[in-house]
């Protein structure tokens, strides 16, 4: 068990280091003149401005020490530039956005809660709705409910959010007038307003993902139901609810947990389309804006953060396996 955990952890750390080296190289080494890229309006960027940027971002130093400074900054914090223009970036320093004149961490602190709110609510919706529809439809195979669920989920799984998001806006906001255009309010300020602003994104992401989760869990459950241990449990006289609810469900849900972990990790990294359609500024939108403006420190930090989310989600999923499915022994 301990060896398994250590090996997984080692693999996760090595992947993370590889991601950080690759992104760093891509943004700060590959471009022939990173200072010119980050200059803002490139058409009017003078050589003097470029020199200032180069000095402030320490682009003139060797690449290896730039990278190690970046990593050290996460632990100890760092200061960019000197004299009157010096900018302090306290630990954990993920870089400094000179475009916005603030540490990258501040931008993340502002935008991550928005994304977190969208994803957490939507994940609850799609896991509850998707898995329960899939399970019921597998247990009632061939009934009207099953056929209806299969048809709806087939269509829903192909529905692009580019159609469904605007459709929800038209139905609920513009034509129906049931809701006002969503406006983010932090949950700590006003939970009711927060929930009502989040309603449409939850519905959009929740419905679209429910469809694929329903398909997946139906298929998994059907496969599990045909296995010997389910028949044995039934044959020895266990009540149906116990066989399906405890024995079959645990086996069927394992692959779903894998995919859910990956999905949630990926979504935390950015629900940028949802954010754009409903007018939120979350992590995804912030990194899109930064990328279009070539604000490299912000992009670098968000790519890293996103990779952390995916990798941590993977580790959690691996740990959950053993809890959910007794047939899996870690080792």
């Amino acid at each position: 068990m301990l060896r398994f955990a250590l090996r997984k952890l080692l693999l996760a750390v090595s992947t993370l280091i590889a991601v950080s080296v690759l992104t760093f190289g891509l943004f700060f080494v590959v471009p022939n003149n990173p200072a010119e890229l980050m200059c803002g309006n490139r058409k009017t960027c003078s050589p003097e401005q470029q020199a200032v940027i180069e000095r402030r971002m320490e682009l003139d130093r060797p690449v290896v020490s730039q990278y190690s400074d970046f990593m050290k900054g996460i632990v100890t914090g760092r200061t960019f530039g000197e004299g009157a223009t010096a900018r302090r970036c306290p630990a954990p320093c993920l870089g400094y956005s000179f475009r916005n004149d603030e540490p990258v961490l501040e931008i993340i602190k502002r935008t991550l809660p928005v994304t977190l709110s969208i994803v957490s609510g939507a994940a609850v919706v799609w896991l509850l709705v998707g898995i329960s529809i899939g399970m019921v439809s597998a247990l009632r195979r061939g009934t009207v409910f099953d056929r209806l669920a299969v048809g709806t989920s087939l269509v829903g799984a192909s529905m692009p959010i580019l159609l469904f998001g605007p459709l929800l806006l038209i139905v609920f906001v513009y034509e129906g007038g049931l809701l006002s255009y969503p406006q983010y309010t932090p949950i700590t300020e006003n939970p009711a307003k927060w929930a009502s602003a989040m309603f449409l994104p939850w519905l959009a992401l929740g419905f679209l993902n429910s469809a694929s989760y329903a398909r997946l869990s139906r298929a998994q459950m059907l496969e599990t139901l045909s296995e010997d241990f389910v028949r044995t449990a039934r044959a020895k006289g266990l009540p149906k609810a116990k066989v399906y609810g405890r024995h079959a469900l645990r086996a069927a849900i394992t692959p779903i947990v894998t995919i859910a972990g990956l999905d949630i990790g990926t979504y935390l990294a950015g629900t940028v389309i949802t954010e754009t359609i409903f007018g939120f500024t979350g992590l995804g939108k912030a990194s899109l804006i930064a990328a279009i403006n070539l604000d490299m420190p912000v992009v670098m930090a968000t790519v890293l953060l996103a990779a952390v989310f995916v990798i941590v989600a993977n580790v959690i999923v691996d740990a959950l396996y053993a809890v959910i499915d007794p047939r899996i022994r870690l080792g």
Partner: protein, 339 residues
């Protein structure tokens, strides 16, 4: 497909033989006809009504996109032509449903006054072209890497598996945001005009770099089970080189899963391309594109909802047809699979 039999013992397709004892007795059962696995799959596909319908819709879309210049000539309006007289003072189209009528079948674009139908036709062309080319490159890369990893095993396999995990850990969208503007800035200065082919080519490269993992994994899994089979051993015993075994012996047995992966890869690439163009980092003006058409429509969704819905529904139908056809193809090639 029809010459698959020549390739030697066929893995999946033999297992998929429907003329077993449980198969329904057909009128032709008395006279025994030799059929290749490809022919059998085609017969099964023809019986699948959903599959045939979605296949028909797909052919319609592909023909429409391929014949876009012809459609333009018959329809009489180009993608860049503007019709400002059909807009009111605020730039909104006159008439109902965004100006839908006999001369403009899907209405006109608010403010710009372009015809939406011809935009959709040319947009389909862009979407399909990018998605198809990207899918072909992706699959080729995935086959190559998967087949090598699966057959050679050992350290090569471990390294490739790690590479797959690494690729999966990269956040695709955020990475695209970072990569596209940078690559453009790298090749073209602030005053240069990008050539028309540059963005589509860039998108194809990015999609291939991120998407091969899925094909690679599937091919690797298939090869792992195939490489211990007798025909591979026989080839090795008769002195065949690694290259011959990989591409002449193993590859012909992989066409069925590869075809299925391909047909399910295209719709996801169409969605991804539309998403990137929607976000403003994919295809740019003046090349027509479905994702950008939707993004153009978002500011007017309140006054002209029909515009948004037209772009969205086209995308939806395209993706749905591909997904349904992919499912039908999988059922036809591998009837044992339950999904």
């Amino acid at each position: 497909m029809s010459d698959q039999r020549i390739g030697g013992p066929v893995g999946m397709a033999v297992a998929a033989d429907p003329v077993g004892p449980s198969g329904p007795p057909s009128p032709t059962a008395r006279q025994i006809v030799g059929r290749s696995p490809g022919q059998l799959a085609w017969i099964r596909l023809k019986r699948d009504r959903v599959g045939m319908t979605s296949g028909g819709v797909l052919i319609f879309f592909i023909l429409l996109a391929a014949a876009a210049p012809l459609v333009q000539r018959l329809y009489g309006k180009g993608p860049q032509e503007r019709f400002p007289r059909l807009l009111d003072r605020n730039g909104n189209p006159l008439g109902y449903l965004g100006g839908i009528g006999p001369s403009h079948w899907l209405g006109v674009q608010p403010r710009l006054g372009r015809d939406i139908f011809i935009q959709v036709v040319y947009g389909l062309r862009t979407s399909l072209m990018v998605a198809f080319v990207a899918a072909v490159v992706t699959i080729a890369l995935g086959i190559l890497i998967g087949i090598v990893a699966g057959y050679l095993g050992g350290k090569v396999d471990a390294a490739i598996t790690w590479l797959i995990d690494l690729t999966l850990a990269f956040p695709f969208f955020i990475f695209c945001f970072a990569f596209v503007p940078m690559a453009v800035a790298q090749f073209y200065g602030p005053r240069d005009q990008e050539p028309v082919w540059f963005r589509p080519a860039l998108l194809v490269i990015i999609f291939a770099l991120f998407n091969w993992t899925y094909t690679g994994r599937i091919v690797r899994g298939q090869v792992l089970s195939l490489r211990e089979r007798e025909f591979v051993e026989a080839a090795r015993a008769s002195g065949a080189g690694t290259g011959h075994i990989l591409f002449r012996q193993l590859l012909p047995n992989l066409w069925a899963p590869i075809l299925v992966v391909f047909s399910l890869n295209v719709p996801s690439l169409i969605t991804a391309e539309a998403a990137l163009s929607f976000l403003g980092i994919g295809i740019l003006e003046p090349t027509p594109d479905l994702g950008r058409l939707i993004s153009d429509s978002i500011p007017y969704v309140r006054d002209d909802p029909a515009f948004t819905l037209i772009g969205g529904i086209t995308l939806f139908l395209l993706v749905l047809a591909f997904n349904l056809f992919g499912d039908a193809l999988r059922d036809a090639l591998d009837p044992k699979s339950t999904r």
